[in-house]
Amino acid sequence: MRRTIIILLRNPLSLLGAILVAAVVLSAVLADYIAPFPEHRGSVVDFVYFNKGPTARNLMGTDLVGRDLFSRILYAFRISLILGVVVLAIAPPIGTLVGLFAGYLGGRTEFVLMRLTDVFLSIPPLVLAIAMMGVLEPTLMNAMLAVTAMWWPWYARLVYNIARSEREEGYVLAAEVIGASTLHVTLREILPNCLPAIITKMTLDMGFVIIIASSLSFLGLGVQPPTPDLGSMVAEGARYLPDSWWLTVFPGLAILIAVFGFNLIGDALREILGADQ
């Protein structure tokens, strides 16, 4: 663990990733203290300063009702990160269980579970979430639910492939011979061997969850105003291009920076863990 961190920080690119992620996480956590206008996260109207470009007072300009964009972006990071963490706390365990049982038990269980997984995987990712948000009320909770619903099958397939090959290994046969239960074999014997792959995928997925979530709110199917969200900010600003360019460019760059940071770290981690195996 310590060695991994040292390797990460020695590589300039993954160091950059660590800095970007740290900056995004810190600004989300400390938004109340950093944001010049904390009250602008809600529905505030300030017509003296509406729709102004970047100035010393508003580093990234103001939106159509005069709210400070920089402050709103800091709070929007909070929504993105919460969503990412919650989805990655729910989807991988579900997918892992499905994959473990399908891979270990085989037979009819495997057929049913993996065909179910295939069904979810054969609706293009964003489309499933869009369809679900179409019928659900657009709230943060439901957005998490929709993204989770499209995310678990990827873990199911990943773990299934590992579990199926581990099934024939000596240590699994040994556990079976001394009469270990299915639960013991899957969770205590096979699962630990799947963990490196699962963890690597989770770091790589953090950025993608943020992308999908912002895409939903870009279409008006995610978090609703006045809650600041990067996707809906871009959508709102896109109607005022090119004159009010800051309305779209800064929230767009904010997504890019956050996701780029997570991807840099995930990439480096994959190389390190891959080399260790």
Partner: protein
């Protein structure tokens, strides 16, 4: 039966099972809609009797299983019901909007392969040196933003600041083209109208590129990773020992074996683009299926939602089938397997 045919029939069978599953899933999702679709369709001024009549016509009062039965029976006759939003058969709506989306996504797919694969090849050939680092960072940037961000940035740069490309639409209105296929690139060629063809090309480039950016990054990263692995193989070393040129080694010995895993992922990226078309079409006012999809979702138009998702999923399954076949043809182990095993 040859190995390729056997593979095709197996994959077709699985695809059919999956498609039935998809239809059940989508049907299930669409039926938990809060609120009464009949009431939403008719508006607040309709009488109770009108609503009840529409509910009966849509089979909304039957149990869900019976509703699904009606749906499948209609579907087998090529009937997806009537859209409550456009008041036209959903199949007609889809037929009108699907070609624009397919044209956009296919064009983006061509850009993805034509730019992403060579980038990955260069990167692998110069692995560890500056062109490699540059390409790796650029392609990681490409996958690090949703396509609507690229759409907005590209539009701002190349349609507003440098007014090279148009900001919206598929074709300049002054061109009168009969829409035989709905694919304007093909229709203009059929009409032998060169000016219109280039006009369509000019319109499609920017949205397609925005859609392709993350796919390009993905393809480049993947091709590089696979090629770097094959560079370590003994046969590449032997080719180097023979003194073959670096270009020939890259193209023939390192690239070809890594093409197969790349193709699988390209199929998945195509799926991502079908979804991301929703975002790019919104930015560029592209009159495709995705804009229709968002419109019907916001109006809770059941039949249209089910139809749209079903068609998009079917398109995806077909593309994956084609990719699988392509892989089977490219992979000599599958192509020639009838000689060995069976």
């Amino acid at each position: 039966m040859s190995a390729v045919l056997r593979l095709l029939s197996r994959r077709l069978g699985i695809s059919l099972i999956v498609l039935v599953g998809v239809s059940m899933l989508i049907f299930g999702i669409a039926r938990v809609i809060p609120g009464d679709p009949a009431r939403i369709a008719l508006g607040p001024n309709a009488t109770e009797e009108q609503v009840a009549n529409l509910r009966a016509a849509l089979h909304l009062d039957d149990p869900v299983v019976v509703q699904y039965g009606h749906f499948v029976a209609d579907l087998l006759q090529g009937d997806l019901g009537v859209s409550l939003y456009t008041n036209r058969p959903v199949t007609l709506d889809i037929a009108q909007f699907l070609p624009a989306t397919l044209e956009l996504v296919l064009f983006a797919g061509v850009l993805m392969v034509a730019i992403g694969l060579p980038l990955g090849m260069w990167s692998a050939r110069y692995r560890g040196r500056w062109p490699d680092h540059l390409i790796r960072v650029v392609s990681l940037l490409g996958v690090s933003a949703p396509s609507f961000v690229w759409a907005v940035i590209l539009m701002l740069l190349f349609a507003f600041f440098l007014p090279i490309f148009p900001i919206a639409g598929r074709i300049t209105d002054s061109f009168e083209i009969t829409r035989a296929t709905g694919f304007l690139l093909i229709d203009t060629l059929l009409a032998r109208n060169g000016a219109a063809f280039f006009d369509v090309l000019w319109h499609i480039f920017l949205p397609a590129f925005a859609l392709a950016v993350s796919g390009i990054g993905q393809a480049a990263r993947l091709t590089r990773a696979n090629m770097v692995e094959t560079y370590d193989r003994p046969y590449v070393e032997m080719a180097q020992a023979y003194g073959f040129s670096a270009r020939r080694i890259a193209a023939k010995y390192a690239f070809k074996p890594s093409l197969i895993p790349s193709l699988t992922i390209i199929g998945l990226d195509f799926a991502a683009m079908l979804g991301n078309a929703f975002l790019v079409e919104a930015v560029f006012a592209w009159p495709g299926l995705s804009r229709y999809g968002v419109a019907v979702i916001l109006r809770k138009d059941l039949n249209a939602i089910i139809g749209t998702v079903l068609i998009i999923s079917a398109t995806f399954l077909i593309v994956n089938l084609i990719v699988d076949l392509l892989i089977a043809f490219l992979n000599p182990r599958i192509r020639h397997s009838e000689r060995g095993t069976s």
